[in-house]
Symmetry: C2
Subunit: 383 residues, 2 copies
Amino acid sequence: MSVTAAKGFTAAGIAAGIKENGNPDLALVVNRGPRRAAAGVFTSNRVKAAPVLWTEQVLRGGEVTAVLLNSGGANACTGPKGFQDTHASAEKAAEVLGHSAGEVAVASTGLIGVLLPMDKLLPGIEQAAAQLSEHGGEKAAIAIKTTDTVHKTAVAQGEGWTVGGMAKGAGMLAPGLATMLVVLTTDADLEAAALDRALRAATRTTFDRVDSDGCMSTNDTVLLLASGASGVTPGEAAFAEAVRTVCDDLARQLIGDAEGASKDIRIEVVGAATEDDAVEVGRSIARNNLLKCAIHGEDPNWGRVLSAIGTTAAAFEPDQLNVAINGVWVCKNGSVGEDRELVDMRFREVRITADLAAGAESAVIWANDLTADYVHENSAYSS
Amino acid sequence: MSVTAAKGFTAAGIAAGIKENGNPDLALVVNRGPRRAAAGVFTSNRVKAAPVLWTEQVLRGGEVTAVLLNSGGANACTGPKGFQDTHASAEKAAEVLGHSAGEVAVASTGLIGVLLPMDKLLPGIEQAAAQLSEHGGEKAAIAIKTTDTVHKTAVAQGEGWTVGGMAKGAGMLAPGLATMLVVLTTDADLEAAALDRALRAATRTTFDRVDSDGCMSTNDTVLLLASGASGVTPGEAAFAEAVRTVCDDLARQLIGDAEGASKDIRIEVVGAATEDDAVEVGRSIARNNLLKCAIHGEDPNWGRVLSAIGTTAAAFEPDQLNVAINGVWVCKNGSVGEDRELVDMRFREVRITADLAAGAESAVIWANDLTADYVHENSAYSS
């Protein structure tokens, strides 16, 4: 599965020694062609890690031969030396693979503000290249984990073509792309521009609507590589749907594995005047710490939902708002609705529906609850 | 001291039975004149509690004779019945005090979405009125507590006049006014317009810059009442400074008693192109859950500060940002600065300085850390 589900790709994942605990920390994904088209979307955080700045440049050419990914260090806020290190990593991969460094994308994840141990990373690239395999997708997915408890892969089959992918991310998940690294591959025969359209459309309603903890990363990267090895050029709609399906699957896996979370919260905003209104309201609900605590405590505290809605600029009248939690309309017309005792919140997934009664647009945002475990994971050590 | 520090005011605080645990829950503050000028500022949440809607109307007249406050129920999201209850409470207080209901401000705090027990509240008003005293300020301050562990009062002395006040608030503290009820009183002889100017100027840089948990309340109310009993009309600057001093003192007390917090975080943004930029950056830092967890863990994780700054639209260049934690410049020019081991974070107050290197403006935002105790307090029961 993973990034080697589609024909024309090899991958590897190894332990280069970047992580002190000896876990896998370096992945390599190589596009064997015949085509080497690529598209990418990146964090909208203005503080961008060195590999993001590098890979944005690489993507301008529309061709990517290889993606080098490391966990164990984000190489963010590392100044000119950090950028030199990313450049040197790409050069090393290009040298080993016999390609141009200008076609090597780089992605890093881990602690911000620490330089990567280049004495371990550079030999690791040689080691990873030696292990490249058409069955290496799982190992690559494992090597990019940080605080993830499981590795994340997904696949969608078209007629004669495939889209597969891997993702990592378990914290700092917020719009403008969740904190994550994602590599998608396809053997469909498509040019960079077509990949770009499909990828942007897919991320807009999947990764961009994941808001685990409101914190936006410096390193978010989603890449889509096409080898053309199937020889099939799918219709634009079918391909877009396959990419969206894989992104949605991976995004749900990110929420399901978020740091310290005990609940996955599906926030659907309906009755909005515009989709932007629906997204704004959904994010405000998703980021309300008091509500996130209440959900953790299995308390259907709809007052906190209304408080969150009230901070937005969306079109609505306070006395027309309706809120359902797990199907029970606990708030009607901005006031007390059905009996909150009817709400069953024992399961991991909690569904909040907020009806703005102002139009016909809607959006879904996924979030997590706020738990003592989240606090522990993010206070007990640097990450 | 509290609301009876200034001449011309009486107050009371009693247990009316609104809270099931029998703690004090009803406060009354009465302006004995000769002047009854007043000003107020309210939550900017669009979902406003019934008492906020009522008191906004009262304030339009510029005169307030009495303030009736209850804890044990916010009377928010309670529909037309909730507004009728607020109105009936004001009518009852007016009847007992021999004034017009149109001069009785009402403020409520507690759980959202629950009607107040009027059968207890209305008799409680009579009881409170019977206990009004020139020494009742402390009891009034105690009666408005919810999850507050201590009651909060402050006072500032002018030349022949006094400003005093009380506040409650321990959660849902965020800009657009922290979740809180505040009543300030003065015996200075000033008209409503002068009070309004002083109050707006004071709250703009005090309560509006407290961001304990990013959650904005439906009930925030700050009132300033002037009795004129001193016979002194202070200069505008001296009076404004006294009001600001009392607001600042109370705002710091709110942060110091925030739910579950173990640290008070003073975030100073300097080198900003505009004050608005400084406030936007300060709030973004204040609301970053990952940073709040790191501070709890006494980890000087400046990368999370940069991540938060990077999500704003403020003027800055990423490679010119500088960050100090407790005086140690751990980030210089967007990269690694002084040794983070030098940062001593053992004390409750933590100072973060973010230098945008883009101008000469600055702002201070106060926040709290994120702790397992915060999660527990806000998930274990409805509040």
